[in-house]
């Protein structure tokens, strides 16, 4: 049993949900693809019009359903297509992380990064970093919780 568990942790492939803003990060991810930059296939991307549109409920839902990490990608500060959506996204995620910290619910599974449309490489690197760090963290315990 313990052997099996260790094996899972070693080979475990994290599932990452990514919310990428339409104007920067999504285009950045696209560039990574068209430039044939290799990055781990662990991320499922959801395009949102602005990182500011990512409500805590999306992140919470992904985490409670067992996603191992959630990634929110927005434009660099000052570059938001809607002027300040990314600043507000930052505040929202600070709040969410703060609450999860108080509750002891692994806020480190939430990642926020600013990735512009030209930063295909940064996108690939970020995904790789998230996958590596999440592997160290191990699978999301919520994956097994049916009584939520």
């Amino acid at each position: 049993m313990s052997e099996e568990k260790e094996k899972t942790k070693e080979d475990f492939e994290p599932k990452i949900v990514g919310f990428l803003c339409n104007w920067c990060s999504y285009a950045g991810a696209d560039l990574a693809g068209t430039s044939r930059i290799q990055y781990p296939p662990n991320i499922r991307v959801i395009r949102v019009m602005c990182s500011g549109a990512v409500d805590s409920v999306y992140v919470n839902r992904a985490l409670l359903e067992g996603a191992d990490a959630v990634f929110i990608g927005g434009c660099h500060p000052g570059d938001c297509h809607y002027l300040n959506g990314n600043y507000k996204a930052r505040r929202k995620m600070v709040l969410l992380k703060n609450i999860l910290t108080t509750l002891g619910m692994e806020p480190e599974r939430i990642w926020v990064r600013w990735i512009s449309a030209s930063e295909g490489q940064k996108f690939a690197d970020t995904v790789k970093e998230i996958v590596d760090e999440t592997k160290k963290l191990g699978p999301n315990p919520m994956k097994e919780k049916w009584n939520i």
């Binding site: 409500d55 805590s56 409920v57 919470n60 839902r61 409670l64 359903e65 067992g66 927005g74 500060p77 000052g78 300040n84 990314n86 600043y87 507000k88 930052r90 505040r91 929202k92 995620m93 600070v94 709040l95 969410l96 992380k97 703060n98 609450i99 999860l100 910290t101 108080t102 509750l103 002891g104 619910m105 926020v112 990064r113 600013w114 315990p141 919520m142 994956k143 097994e144 919780k145 049916w146 009584n147 939520i148």
Partner: protein, 365 residues
């Protein structure tokens, strides 16, 4: 200015007479204040226009609903055309202040009369108060703490600082007189021609207010320490184990103002196949679904404005002691943004403003 209000008969009657004077003088068209129901088993914020039906007890130690939310309901569509005096406690005033920021209330023609709060009992205890004693007399004597709601024992501030006029108890000799503290011109106008004399014991008042604040602060710290063990997935699931997903906490919350909560919207009306997918993803899935998601998301949506009135806890049919965790969540989240709900009507809510150079550790790296 702080004036003294001489006690005739008893404290609640004195305040009732004061409100009656306001009503009869025509300065206000109606009063919204706690009035005991005929059975005496409960009291509710009641709109009273007829001086003969004015039989208020603003010190009734009970918080059935938040008067702040009631003012929102009365004025959300349009401000009041005629002057209305609203009597409320500190937590209710804080809730109203937050609702004002959210544009859910209009204070046109409304005078806010705050009352010092001595603490409240749960509805279940108030309505069947043991013995022959009157619960109001008990709290006016400074007793009854053992029965009080946790929210009250840990109250951040029982003095309604931002009211137009404060009816003060702390630092007064309730056998002789209580005080009227006018904080705005609106409040001053109410009592201008009543021929009241100055209170004179400002020092006593200051000290008593400081004392009660310190006492509550300490209780609050000890309370948070005591419940700091509710942390981590296992403990949290255990804490919410008895939640039946009725959303009563949200309905009772004065801050949860959304006309249609996301959790009661079509978003969560999904076809059977989605439930099947949930069941398959984890092998088993409890129904109703999304209880924990509801609570954590609700905290995200309201906690920065949480005035810690404890109405959520009082509304829970499963008696989940919500304040055990909400106190710490509110404390930490509000500290992160250096925000105190209800402190100042002009203060901007944290989620509508930002600074370019803040929280650099989130987003970079």
């Amino acid at each position: 200015m702080i004036y003294g209000l001489k006690i005739e008969n008893d404290v609640p009657k004195t305040v009732n007479n004061f409100l009656k004077q306001l009503l009869e003088s025509g300065k206000v068209e109606a009063v919204l204040a706690m009035q005991e129901t005929p059975s005496g088993r409960s009291a509710f914020p009641t709109m009273i226009s007829d001086p003969d039906k004015l039989d208020t007890n603003v010190f009734a130690p009970l918080l059935p609903v938040s008067t702040g939310a009631m003012v929102s309901r009365l004025t959300k569509v349009k401000g009041s055309k005629k002057p209305l005096a609203v009597v409320l406690r500190a937590c209710e005033l804080r809730a109203l202040t937050e609702l004002l920021k959210l544009k859910q209330a209009d204070l046109e023609n409304i005078v806010l009369i705050g009352v010092d709060c001595l603490g409240t009992f749960p509805m279940k205890i108030y309505s069947n108060y043991p013995g022959d004693e009157d619960p109001t007399e008990v709290v006016l004597k400074g007793e009854g703490e053992e029965d009080m709601r946790t929210a009250c024992l840990n109250c951040k501030d029982p003095v309604p600082e931002t009211a137009d006029l404060i009816i003060g108890i702390f630092g007064t000799d309730t056998g002789k007189s209580i005080l009227l503290d006018t904080r705005t011109e609106k409040g001053q106008e109410l009592i201008n021609d009543m021929g009241l004399s100055e209170f004179g014991n400002e020092k006593d008042r200051e000290k008593a207010v400081l004392d009660i604040r310190n006492k509550r602060d300490e209780a609050r710290k000890a309370f948070m320490e005591e419940h700091s063990d509710i942390i981590g997935v296992e403990k949290l699931l255990e804490f919410f184990d008895t939640c039946v997903n009725c959303h009563n906490c949200m309905k009772a919350c004065p801050i949860c103002y959304c006309r249609e909560c996301l959790f009661e919207s079509d978003v969560f009306d999904v076809e059977a196949s989605k439930y099947m997918a949930k069941a398959k993803s984890k092998g088993a899935y409890k129904t109703p679904t999304d209880s924990l998601l509801f609570h954590i998301t609700r905290f995200n949506h309201m906690i920065l404005s949480c005035v810690e009135c404890g109405l959520c806890e009082q509304a829970c049919p499963s008696d989940i002691p919500l304040m055990d965790i909400i106190t710490a969540i509110a404390e930490n989240a509000q500290a992160e943004f250096e925000y105190l709900p209800g402190r100042d009507p002009e203060e901007e809510m944290p989620m509508v403003v930002y600074r370019e150079d803040e929280f650099q550790d989130v987003g970079e790296g």
